[in-house]
């Protein structure tokens, strides 16, 4: 069986303050055959090396974009990354087919509980609805969109629960790898 090459595109501007993402990232790094790429660690000055990033995308089949859910979206470096890396004529457009057929998904941590992300909840939209711009970005680039992995209510999690979520995440990555 052919294993799929999974890239974890990770972005957190203050990782030392996030126990959830530290645990998730550590779990991801322990899964065999997964590439983890820490964007804030690599580009502290937002000076993204476009050709390096494109090369990484070309050598992977699945991209898992792991980040906290800031203002219902990504941290700004991911946006910068999208703007610069997903070039016209490469990622989209008439000749932009580099990413066709790959899979894209998000792995998100959110402070609010799941009940808050409902039409009648505090945030009025589901997480999937709020991710619409990212979903459309992926689809425009010809990638398959997978429903996000969301860790809810991060402020209230016990250490044990954090470890559980991290283990689930590792399982998910292994599953993506095994196709």
């Amino acid at each position: 069986m052919n294993l799929r090459r999974v890239l974890v595109l990770f972005a957190h501007p203050a990782l030392h303050r996030s126990r959830v993402h530290r645990a998730m990232l550590r779990a991801a790094r322990e899964v065999q055959g997964i590439t983890t790429h820490d964007l804030y660690q690599t580009y502290p000055d937002f000076d993204i090396d476009v050709s390096h990033e494109q090369g990484l995308l070309l050598t992977h089949d699945v991209v898992v974009c792991q980040h906290p859910f800031y203002w219902y979206s990504t941290p700004p470096l991911i946006k910068q990354w999208e703007d610069l890396v997903l070039e016209h004529g490469w990622a989209y457009g008439r000749d932009g087919k580099a990413l066709h057929g790959k899979t894209w998904m998000h792995a998100i941590s959110a402070g609010g509980r799941e009940e808050a992300y409902r039409a009648d909840g505090h945030n009025r939209f589901t997480v999937s609805q709020l991710l619409a711009p990212l979903e459309q970005t992926a689809r425009l680039c010809g990638m398959q969109w997978r429903a996000p992995f969301v860790v809810h209510g991060t402020h209230l999690l016990s250490d044990h629960e954090v470890a559980q979520h991290a283990a689930e995440y590792a399982q998910l990555l292994a599953g993506l790898r095994d196709g």
Binding site: D45, D49, V50, L86, H88, G89, G93, R94, L140
Partner: protein, 643 residues
Amino acid sequence: MGEGGLLFQAFVFLAAAVVAVPIASRLGLGSVLGYLIAGVAIGPFGFGFIGNDAQDLLHFAEFGVVMMLFVIGLELQPALLWRLRGTLLGMGGLQVAGTTAVAVGIGLAVGQTWQVSLAIGLILSLSSTAIVLQSLAERGYMKTDAGQRAFAVLLFQDMAVIPMLAILPLLATAAVVGGETGHGAGGWLDSLPAWLRALVVLGAVALVIVGGRFVVQPLFRTIARTRLREVFTAAALLLMIGIALLMNLVGLSPALGTFLAGVVLATSEFRHELESDIEPFKGLLLGLFFLAVGASIDFALVGNEAMTVGALVASLVLLKAAVLFVLGRVFRMGLDQNLLFTMALAQGGEFGFVLLSYAGQNAVLPAQTASVLVAAIALSMAITPLLLVLYERVLVPRVGTRPTAQREADEIHDESSVIIAGFGQFGSTIGRLLRAQGIRPVVLEYDSDRVELLRRLGLDVHYGDASRLDLLHSAGIEKARVLVIALGDDAKTLALAHVVHERYPHVRILARAVTRPAVFELMQAGIPDVYRDTLDTALRVGEDALAALGTPRHHAHRLAQAFRRHDERHVRDLAATKLEWGTYVDRVRGNIRALEADLAREFGDAAEPIRDSAWDSSTLRAEAAARDRDASPSSKPTTHAQN
């Protein structure tokens, strides 16, 4: 000393050490045991190279212990001492009191007088600072909980020696034999009334403390300015011997005197320099001391009184271990740490020898008892390294309470994990940035005038030539994770970088380079993190100049970022290939052209396709226009609205 001259003696000692110590280390027994075995081998009961003069030798080599306490004092900043105060007084005090009490009980039970029991109890309560610290440091246990506590207890014991020296004569049951004065008070002092004697002793201590601060430091500063290393070393030795003499004169332990001097100098800028100057002498003399301990074990006596000595050693070790283990429980140490603590301190100490000879002179103990005790203490010291081996090989695998909670490496900022060499404008800026994050770098600077100024400004700066290996050693290069070379002198930078890169490959070197050739040489030496002195400032000025000329601020910033990226790549390429001067000039010229072309392509508003900036929409416009021309009105809306 024995047959042959001084050279022959030295040859025997060194040869024994050179043969035995590496073998013992290799077998995981530690160097202390190696020295002890070597001592036995060359002693009267081995090859007999040293005869009955082992006691004299021991006396001479005790100076190693004196130096060790000076170095310990140097490493002991008052703040650390303050932090250890609870353990020091609590554990140390209870250890001495507990061991003494139990020993007195046993002594009384076997029918000794209370005076003899108390004397023996006090003497046996001491552990061996020399053996314990050397063994623990060698095995890397000093920073553990057990290591810190053992250290505190030893420190308390070393201080307790002073009142013990005062108490022992009071325990005399027989009249003092002869007027010999040994380790204790000098004869002239005895003729003084008690209050004056106390005053003299206090005065001597005050002299060490005040003199250390107000005489020794300025003196060292002056000597440092001459930049003659051997004079500095001579001054350090002079200080040590002077204090030892003074202490002997007033009847205090020289070790304690130099320890005090060490603490006084611990906050001075010469701390590391002194440490590394004394270190070799200390190491050799301590080795000699262990050799002498090995040689002085009286195997004839051990043979004759095998039962007594054996029982004494066993009960000494067991008794001390029991008291220590209970203490460890009371002070809530983890089981594995407690076991280490217990094993480490369960022996008699070198100050025991001193006290024993003193007790003999003052007729507190019969000579026979004293020599049996000397043998027992020496044997218990020899057993310590074996107990540590037992701890590592047998106990730890059983107990196995490794810390379970994973500590994350990136959150630990060990105080000594970064060293900055050179503390001019460049280095001090780096130092300030690190301190803002709560990291206190060890700073080395060779200009003693500047050191003084910086210290007045409240910075923690040490004097010394950073390219000296021993100085790096005492600055903690073994434990350091990062070395910042901020020297303005490329030759020095290169020398330092080479040495550290070769000897301590685990240390990440961040090197400042002033000239191009230095940049290349550093990179070719395998040091990737090379910082050109002026690049960053120049780029900032360039960026501001562009902005002043009307280039949008963010665009100028991105341009400078790209410039730096390309330029660093070119320098790395150039460093990778060693070139003749002529070819080099051609290559550089070519690189400059290539860089300009790259930047024009990335950022210029040229007609050709533009990379990097996907923020540019010209290709989108072109594609949209093409779609329009195709006339078939696409159902697909323009999705990526840019511009």
